[in-house]
């Protein structure tokens, strides 16, 4: 063989591509010469379908974008629609939204941690993370009535109030989770093999991050301290105390540490919300559902939110009819994933799985 470079296709079905990513990799022995991701295997026309129904109907497609953190997606849509229509939301509903979103962020990060462990060849962390996640899902199930896709946030509030039983579940969960965090971190973080495999792997410098438009934990792991919850607070994020964990290394291990710290911060936010949540209405009675369907609006709206993967927002354009004219989804994973060619060049096959799973891509959101 004159040409030493072999072309290998990872995916669209491969155990460590988190769904349907396909990466065309050119390999020189074990070393990656060039990696070219191919996406679109889960393109479900969310934008087109949301432009075909009314404003409340778009929710079902937005819900299924990032299916491991559906409430975060709903929040982005709901805020954009409310901003466009000028809907007032009761205070209690906003606090509840904040609490639910942070709970869902925990669930999303736990899935990431479990599958990341699986990609590094560890079976057991997956089960521990899913065990912890089930506890959160039980709370979400109690509040929303669903396990994965909730459809819980309504335009003008939330669909149902949080029951006292659910509050009690959340309270015990926050207390337990702080203790559990130590264990969750140690599943991977104390493993010498894990640390040696992830340090200096899949590096992204701050310039790369800005150039690719990478946001979220990946951006913060590369030394750029930016979080929409702090920079442009939506809901009541300016009324709670939390830190933005930041690392400067920009490798897979830094992303691991950032996400772990973010989980701690989310738990503390939930705890603070529990203390501050007021009594009152949870739904704006003025905007009942039949009325919303008929509500006509015009103008543009773009409300950025911080989803577990990065900056998520929806650019809504109304044309005066009851159907949104343009629903453009800014999906964080799409931009994060586009940095793969830079992130993988010169590393080994084993680093491919580590680096790809450190992006935490969810293909409902990448391909939309």
């Amino acid at each position: 063989m004159e040409d030493k470079v072999i072309e290998v296709n990872f995916g669209p079905q491969h155990p460590s591509t988190h769904g349907v990513l396909r990466i065309k990799v050119k390999l020189d022995g074990e070393i990656i010469v060039e990696a070219q991701p191919v996406i679109g295997y889960l393109h479900r026309n969310a934008e087109k379908l949301a432009e075909m129904g009314g404003y409340p109907k778009g929710m079902i497609y937005i819900d299924r974008l990032d299916y491991v953190a559906a409430l975060n997606m709903e929040l982005g849509y709901v805020l954009a629609v409310e901003d466009l229509m000028g809907v007032q939301v009761p205070e209690r509903a906003q606090w509840i939204r904040m609490m639910m979103v942070e709970l869902n962020r925990e669930a999303s990060h736990l899935i990431w941690l479990g599958t990341h462990g699986l990609d590094m060849g560890m079976l057991t962390p997956f089960f521990y993370c899913f065990r912890e996640r089930e506890r959160i899902l039980r709370i979400l199930d109690e509040v929303t009535g669903s396990r994965l896709l909730y459809n819980y946030f309504a335009i003008g509030g939330i669909y149902s109030d949080v029951t006292p039983k659910a509050f009690e579940m959340i309270r015990t969960w926050t207390e337990d989770f702080v203790k559990k965090m130590e264990e969750i971190q140690s599943i991977l973080g104390k493993s010498y093999i894990y640390v040696s495999r992830t340090k200096d792997v899949g590096k992204l410098t701050a310039e790369d991050v800005l150039s690719y438009g990478v946001t979220g934990p990946m951006q913060r792991a590369s030394g750029i301290k930016r979080d929409v919850r702090k920079d442009a607070p939506y809901l009541f994020y300016d009324k709670v105390n939390f830190e933005i964990p930041t690392r400067t290394e920009g490798d897979v291990y830094a992303r691991f540490l950032v996400r772990i710290e973010e989980m701690r911060q989310s738990a503390s936010i939930v705890k603070q919300v529990l203390e501050k949540i007021p009594q009152g209405e949870f739904y704006n009675k003025k905007y009942s559902k039949p009325m919303l369907v008929r509500l006509k609006t015009t103008g543009e709206s773009y409300v950025p939110t911080e989803s577990p993967k990065g900056e998520f927002a929806i650019h809504l354009i109304g044309d005066g009819s009851s159907i949104p004219y343009r629903v453009r989804i800014r999906s964080p994973s799409f931009a994060n994933l586009s940095s793969i060619p830079t992130m993988l060049k010169g590393y080994k096959i084993a680093d491919l799985t580590a680096a790809v799973s450190s992006i935490d891509p969810v293909f409902g959101e990448v391909d939309r």
Binding site: P12, G40, M52, V68, F126
Partner: protein, 152 residues
């Protein structure tokens, strides 16, 4: 006569073996894949039913769980993966999207039902189905294989 009894018993045993040892294919498409993983997880643990060996290679797996929306771009690949599996092979269509297109049925790039691509043995309703529903589907498939009602 005794030959027949022997053959029948052997046949029963083979059916029993196939039914009780369905190794699923690590194959996730969309939202339902997360619930499929939950069904694997500690709380639901479908390893109890003999499906604990998740195989990454289609050659070694018996059960394909189509968990999520089948897009037009992915459908030929699913067919190829199905062709790569060795007989006897079974398919569970999990969730509304895989069964009939689900909420995306009006879309331009979604196949409305994976049964246009591969033959399906059990459909599971729900969007997404709860892990209990998937486990019930697995049990149903097992019972049908052991009773000899699945033909391949």
């Amino acid at each position: 006569m005794s030959d027949n009894i022997l053959v029948t018993t052997l046949d029963e045993a083979l059916k029993w073996g196939t039914g009780k040892s369905l190794w699923p294919f690590t194959f996730g498409l969309a939202c339902c894949a997360i619930e499929m993983m939950s069904a694997m997880g500690s709380d639901y643990d479908w390893a109890r039913f003999g499906s604990d060996v998740f195989r990454d290679s289609p050659r070694q797996s018996d059960l394909m769980i189509v968990s999520g929306t089948v897009t037009k771009k992915m459908a030929p690949r699913i067919r190829r993966l199905y062709d790569q599996m060795a007989f006897p092979k079974f398919v569970i269509s999990m969730g509304a999207c895989a069964s009939a297109g689900g909420p995306y049925v009006r879309g331009y790039s979604v196949v409305d039902g994976v049964d246009q691509v591969v033959p399906v043995d059990v459909y599971v309703y729900g969007c997404p189905p709860r892990p209990e529903a998937l486990i019930q589907a697995l049990k149903m498939l097992q019972d049908r294989i052991v009773a000899g009602k699945v033909k391949h």
